[in-house]
């Protein structure tokens, strides 16, 4: 009952915020016509205004993720609470800040989503087919993975991205991730670097972070995922972000939770070393 009241209150907030957002977006639309600089500032201002736990709808995913984390499921009817995300069973604070990382029990480098699937299969004895089918939420379809990632990543908010990269497999992933970042292909001849290897560039009016070198832009980008996407009304994870990049690059859809995506994430998080994490964030 109390949970319902709480959720109702949160939903009320969300509707209220949505209306405010629409009005603000219209105002921003006018600003865009003025100049790119003004629009950047306006978007930044609006982002700052709504980026708090009571107005960012991404925190609904955090709440749902907490319930999913604690819920018994699978053939073994146990929760995920003994899942080891790299710093000990059930330890969440700082776990996602050090991922992707090598897991000795699995003998693989995994990002958070791969690791959660591994825990569902190995600890809960769960069939992950349905969870994978709902990997990205949409109208009327919620995603357990997005919710779990929101909840777990939020536990690293305020901490800094710090990958060890001392296992040979982590070093391999780093090198492969870098090679993939610069790998041109498809009918557009694009690579990640086509859009993300120079400072101050933009597509239409959208500013592009330079992710080809370590530093502030990589930090600000990687420190703000997962994010609540206002234009999609959904929380999105790095898996979705890279899937969407490959869509725009005219590549086929990359397989969910595949090693190539983890290699790219590991490379990007390495570029973003020291980034302060503030998630879920909110973006256009």
């Amino acid at each position: 009952m109390l949970d319902h009241v709480r959720q109702g209150t949160r939903l009320g907030w969300t509707i209220c915020v949505s209306v405010t957002l629409t009005v603000m977006l219209l105002q921003i639309g006018t600003a865009v016509a003025q100049s790119a600089d003004t629009s950047e500032k306006e978007i930044e201002r609006y982002r700052a205004m709504i980026s708090d736990p009571f107005s960012n709808p991404g925190y609904l995913n955090v709440d749902r993720g907490e319930l999913l984390w604690k819920q018994a499921a699978g053939t073994k009817k146990v929760s995920l609470e003994t899942c080891d995300l790299g710093i000990g069973p059930g330890k969440l604070e700082g776990a996602s800040a050090a991922m992707p990382r090598h897991f000795a029990d699995a003998g693989r480098v995994m990002d958070l989503e791969q690791r959660l699937l591994w825990c569902m299969e190995n600890i809960q004895g769960a069939d992950t087919k349905d969870v994978i089918k709902r990997r990205f939420s949409g109208p009327g379809v919620s995603s357990d993975m997005e919710d779990l990632v929101a909840f777990i990543s939020n536990k690293s908010s305020g901490l800094k991205i710090s990958l060890r990269n001392d296992h040979p497999k982590e070093q391999e992933m780093l090198a492969v991730g870098e090679a993939m970042f610069f790998r041109r292909s498809s009918i557009s001849d694009f690579s990640c670097a086509t859009c993300h290897a120079e400072e101050g560039k933009r597509i239409r009016l959208q500013g592009l972070p330079n992710l080809s070198k370590p530093g502030k832009q990589a930090q600000e980008t990687m420190g703000s995922w997962p994010t609540y996407r206002v234009s999609q009304s959904q929380l999105r994870t790095m898996q979705h972000r890279l899937w969407d990049c490959y869509r725009q690059m005219r590549m086929p859809a990359p397989d969910y939770a595949s090693d190539g995506i983890t290699a790219l994430t590991l490379y990007l998080n390495t570029q973003a070393a020291g980034a302060e994490i503030n998630v879920p964030s909110i973006k256009r």
Binding site: V176, A179, A193, P252, A253
Partner: protein
Amino acid sequence: MKRFSTLLRVTTLATLLGTALTLATAAQQAAKVDPKIVDAYIKGTWKSPPEGWQVRIDQDETQRVCSAYRNDPPTAEFEKIRARELATVVFPADGTVLGDWKAGERVAQTGVGGQFSDAPGTVAGGNCYACHQMAKAELSYGTLGPSLLEYGKIRKFDAAESKQAYAKIFNAQSVQPCSNMPRFGYHKFLTEQQMKDVTAYLMSPDSPVNK
């Protein structure tokens, strides 16, 4: 005793330097990962692409060389790419490279086509505005490519320049090897008519690009 300790320190320092050098070499080697390992990751990331899409995953020789040199190939490779790409350029059979600039503007504005999210039969656009400034009135333009404002006017609406513009749209790398610009004609991303229309959008005196 004291001398021995100094010797020890020097030895330690040398060992440390040696280790540092080894580490630096290891880092360089890590950056140059065996292409076979990268290929294995690529294969594992796109296990069963839709029919006809595998070709998008595999690199052609130009993509491979440009990726390996991060778009800055040595002179010999640069010339090889230019020659290879130039050989792919097909000019319109009717001898004219100028189409309808109004249709060209639509091609320049349209960003869909070729994505796995596009409905079958979606007419692809060139999405020129994503990267280039073109007509003065359009403020929503990207900056990844150079500004094309007054493109034809600057070139005095010269017929040879029109042909050159068409060739650049057909295959940018026939002009500038490892250019970031997609090879629209080479990949059959745009039709011949669409490329003619975009050429007219750039080169026609009536086009807003030149106003």
